[in-house]
């Protein structure tokens, strides 16, 4: 494998990229493009405004709140208050699979529906509260849901509709339906990230902790930051079940409100996507005393490692033994699968620019196939996502983030119950468990690799020209742009309608899919033969990694 191959120096291309920008922009972007040098601390500028006119991958606060966090929950009516578009675009476009099967053929599942107040100009002029109220009433009358979430889009905040007051009023009126609002207007913050935070806050305020029924299982956990894209959560559920671990709730893939309401009864919170959900983990620890640590179920070794950490956390030999059994049963076929694709994948280059944790986690999967990630970045990260939570105290809150509510949480007078004593936690940390910690993406990247936060089309274009990667990972907007350059692109938001990629089975799927993409014949036939000069070998670029 290509572990110790030296990466090409990206400084030149960085300069070339910046040279095109107006000077102010260049200065700003320079701080978001960092050539990794692991020997030193490096600040990766992030969670700052997108520069207008720069073609960005980013979406908005609403997308992060409704689209990402609440979208995957099946038994809530997510009612979008605003003109029709925002609700339409978030309708079924994120592949969060959900299985209402357990609740029978009549089990609640509103995921396939799109609800909107479809605001019209008169609502903009005269206010939309009345229409919102009516819409909530109609939703309640038709569907009798147990919960309705109201999501504000851009104009709502501007015209001053108070979605929270309306929600409160309707909740009281209904009695049996939990109605609550989100002030997640698209212009809030600088990216989806603001929406995650708002979603976390409202879930914490309005849902988590409502049902104090204690779980029956022995090892009760929550899985945070797992959205069940392509069935990832199903695979993880399978593994947890094999291990005898009981998942109280997943935030928020294949989830239901019922689970959220009981999530505070868990023993442990596992955080997958640090960015989108760390707030909930933090708040649950403060309020209920549930510790959290970061896990990664992307990759065979990563999955095994994460499972082992759970075993260590519980310090229960029975659980530890069972986890080892599961790993012994499952991991070898994963290793074999990785080996099987190696002749196609070894030494190949990957780049990945995606939101959430994926740009980090998938580097491990690629490494298992002998592939090197030459450049990566997040779409809506904060500095801690790159540099680790150690930098949290040093992050300056700017104007764009200041208005995102920061909940003041205190230990619950009744329900606070530290799962582990301080001493126990310290002992576990000595043994390698890292509570409330995330070391960030940079920690796992090679020297000379290039981190780019909030990459722009221009930057991606030039990086591809420079690196000529074998595979590029990003989202739907980038997919066909990159492919037109002759480079296959793997969508890491939708998995290109493949997956699952999490857990043991997921890793195997991923290997196979990447092998397929790297061996697809058409990439060798892009040029019309009558134009062929014979000189354009698409692979000459790979030389410098050899």
């Amino acid at each position: 494998m290509s572990e110790d191959k030296k990466l090409p120096d990206p400084s030149i291309i960085k300069e070339e990229i910046l040279a095109k920008y107006p000077p102010k922009i260049a200065r700003k972007r320079a701080k978001s493009m960092v050539v990794v040098d692991k020997s030193m601390d490096q600040e990766v500028q992030s969670n700052v405004r997108t520069i207008p006119g720069i073609i960005t991958q980013r979406g908005c606060c609403y997308a992060g709140c409704k689209g990402v966090v609440l979208g995957p929950t099946r038994d809530i009516i997510n009612l979008v208050h605003g003109p029709i578009g925002c609700s339409f675009y978030a309708w079924l476009t994120r592949r969060n699979q959900t299985d209402p099967g357990e609740a029978g053929p009549d089990g609640e599942n509103f995921i396939n529906y799109c609800f909107s107040t479809d605001m019209q100009d008169s609502n903009i002029v005269f206010g939309g509260e009345k229409k919102l109220k009516q819409a909530i009433q109609e939703a309640y009358d038709i569907f009798k849901p147990k919960a309705i979430g109201v999501f504000s889009t851009c104009p709502v905040g501007l015209i001053g509709d108070d979605v929270h007051a309306v929600s409160r009023e309707m909740k009281e009126k209904f009695g049996d339906c939990n109605v609550f609002g989100f002030s997640c207007e698209g212009y809030k913050g600088v990216s989806q990230s603001a929406g995650h935070h708002i979603a976390n806050n409202q879930l914490f305020k309005h849902v988590i902790g409502r049902d104090n029924t204690q779980p029956e299982g022995k090892y009760n956990i929550n899985l945070l930051g797992e959205y069940n894209i392509g069935g990832d959560a199903f695979e993880l559920d399978r593994i947890f079940e094999l291990c005898g671990i009981n998942v109280i709730s997943t935030f928020s893939g294949n989830s239901n409100v019922t689970g959220f309401e009981r999530s505070h009864t868990a023993d442990l919170n596992l955080v997958m996507c640090h960015r989108s959900i760390n707030y909930v983990a933090e708040m649950m620890e403060t309020k209920y005393g549930i510790p959290w640590f970061k896990v990664n179920f992307i990759g065979g070794d990563a999955t095994a490692k994460s499972l082992r950490r759970i075993g260590e956390y519980y310090e229960d030999p029975e659980l530890i033994a069972r986890i080892e059994e599961v790993i012994t049963a499952e991991l070898p076929s994963v290793k074999q699968a990785a080996k099987d694709v190696l002749k196609t994948t070894d030494g190949k280059l990957a780049m990945m620019f995606v939101g959430g944790s994926r740009a980090h986690h998938y580097q491990e999967l690629f490494a298992e196939m002998g592939m090197t990630t030459v450049s990566a970045g997040y779409e809506f990260a904060h500095r801690d996502d790159y540099e680790g939570r150690k930098v949290l105290p040093t992050i300056k809150v700017d104007a764009d983030s200041r208005n995102i509510e920061e909940l003041k949480i205190e230990a619950d007078p009744e329900l606070y119950n530290p799962r582990k004593t301080k001493v126990e936690l310290e002992d576990l940390e000595k043994n390698g468990l890292e509570f409330s910690e995330y070391k960030g993406m940079k920690n796992d990247m090679a020297d000379q690799s290039l981190i780019v936060d909030d990459i722009s089309h221009w930057e991606a274009d030039k990086l591809i020209e420079y690196y000529k990667p074998d595979i590029f990972c990003a989202g739907i907007k980038e997919k066909y742009v990159v492919q037109k350059m002759g480079i296959p692109l793997k969508q890491l938001h939708s998995y290109d309608y493949g997956g699952p990629y999490a857990g043991f089975e997921g890793a195997k799927n991923f290997y196979t899919d990447i092998e397929r993409m790297l061996s697809t014949s058409i990439w060798k036939k892009l040029k019309a033969p009558w134009l062929e000069t014979g000189a354009s070998d698409p692979c000459i670029c790979a030389e410098y990694v050899a």
Binding site: I51, T117, D121, A135, E138, P155
Partner: protein, 460 residues
């Protein structure tokens, strides 16, 4: 069941839209802007709008859809987006070098009242727009009309921003194709060429959103109506505006500003609308229709005549955009099919009236509704109350089709789960045969599936 909570009983709704049969204006403006060569669309609003619009167009076309955003923050929302747009224009012309930028607003910038005219004028004054480059714009408040309205508004924006009047008449006809696929625009050009009619067609997304894979990425693909051609449309003989909802406003503007008279036609989908289109084009361009078109038409008529038994009396539910539904409903009637439920989220009184007029004789019981709460939830409920043999509409129709086990043909926007629409036209006579192939295929596949072993037919 995917839509397990949809009850058969229809309750009147006044405020809640469920499963819309429309989306918002800006995405239409973005699509229209892509129909100008060298144009970079720009969304003046929050980042999310641009991202969503690019995503849905990308999923529909499986092709790059590039556009800029003003990336509003809370500050811009309070103080106005002028600074953002000015900066965006500078950056776009500097970094991405388009021939022109086409700005549209969003509900955000509309609500705060940004004045695009003023901002763009200032940008030009301030030298933010390089020599030879252009900025055009239109207002697309998301809370009025639908995506179709946005398309129409950008068409008007194109006319306003690019058309010139030299006073020297040009022997050409303007065709505003309306919201159709690149394949359709390509086909209209082919038809005009084969008829010997000189035309200027815009917007023209062919060779833009169906661009070739050559291993070489072009940010501005070879297609799109050129600024020069568009400019010349002020000197044309006449404008044929296909689709009242998407094209009439722009045609009116060409008339009022440049004295180019216009005629509003249906998008040439199906036999009758294609007949009118060919006739109108031959009259406008003063060319006789070549014999090849008699043959082309005759092939469509032949398929209809030969296959009528599989179509006759079949009930159809259809949803989508008015300009596409109107000629399609007429086509269904020409096929002796029975338009049974017709839904469009796009408002406009003309629509219901038009559909009812068309159906008066042959399908007087047609249920039709558009505008507020005319959504796919209602359509689904109608279908539960009166089942149909075929469903036509965009990809979201798949969920109804599966639940109710109805043969389904994808028609309209967006189509997210199949390819073909961008390559094979549905306009014109050949497009009619394609529609027939698709509908017959769906109906016959169903017959094949449902037939007892005893009743399977070799010949159909």
């Amino acid at each position: 069941m995917l839509l397990r909570h949809t009850p058969k009983e229809v309750k009147e709704r006044k405020a809640l839209t469920i499963n819309p049969a429309k989306t918002c204006q800006p995405v239409g403006a973005m699509y229209a802007a892509l129909g100008v060569h060298g144009c970079l669309p720009h969304s003046h609003g929050s980042q999310g709008c641009c991202s969503y619009h690019r995503s849905v167009l990308t999923r529909h076309y499986k092709d790059p859809i590039m556009a800029g955003t003003s990336a509003f923050t809370e500050g811009s929302s309070v103080f106005g987006g002028q600074a953002n747009l000015m900066q965006a224009l500078t950056n776009m012309f500097t970094i991405y070098n388009p021939d022109l930028v086409a700005v549209h607003t969003t509900c955000l910038s509309e609500t705060i009242g940004d004045d695009l005219n003023q901002i763009c004028s200032k940008a030009i004054e301030d030298g933010k727009v390089p020599a030879g480059k252009k900025v055009i714009y239109c207002n697309t408040p998301s809370y009025i009309g639908s995506h179709v309205t946005g398309f129409s508004n950008m068409c008007t924006g194109i006319v306003k921003g690019l058309v010139e009047h030299t006073g020297v008449a040009k022997d050409q006809v303007n065709i505003l194709p309306g919201w159709v696929e690149p394949s359709d625009m390509r086909e209209i050009k082919r038809i005009a060429k084969d008829m010997g009619a000189k035309i200027v067609l815009y917007p023209d997304t062919s060779d833009v959103v169906d661009s070739p894979q050559t291993g070489e990425y072009k940010m501005y693909p070879d297609g799109g109506a050129t600024v020069e051609d568009i400019a010349s449309s002020g000197d044309s003989i006449k404008t044929l505006a296909c689709g009242a909802f998407a094209s009439e406003d722009a045609a009116k503007l060409l008339d009022s500003s440049f004295k180019v008279p216009y005629e509003v036609l249906d998008i040439p989908v199906g036999l009758s609308a294609s007949d009118r289109f060919i006739t109108a084009l031959s009259e406008a361009a003063r060319v006789t229709v070549p014999a090849a078109f008699v043959a082309e038409r005759g092939r469509l008529v032949d398929v209809i005549a030969d296959m009528t038994q599989y179509l006759h009396g079949k009930k159809v539910a259809i949803f989508g955009d008015p300009d596409q539904l109107i000629p399609m409903v007429e086509f269904l009637l020409d096929l002796d099919m029975i338009p049974t439920h017709v839904i469009s989220g796009t408002p406009g009184k003309k629509f219901t009236k038009k559909i009812q007029e068309l159906c008066a004789e042959k399908a007087p019981n047609v249920q039709v509704q558009n505008g507020a709460q005319a959504d796919m939830f209602l359509l689904h409920q109608w279908i539960k109350n009166e089942p149909v043999d075929l469903l036509l509409g965009n990809t979201y129709g798949k969920y109804i089709a599966r639940d109710e086990d109805i043969p389904f043909v994808r028609y309209g926007f967006p189509i997210l789960d199949r390819i073909g629409h961008s390559y094979f036209p549905t306009v014109g006579y050949t497009g009619g045969i394609r529609l027939l192939e698709l509908m017959l295929g769906a109906i016959m596949d169903r017959q094949d599936r449902d037939a007892d072993d005893t009743k399977v037919e070799l010949v159909m």
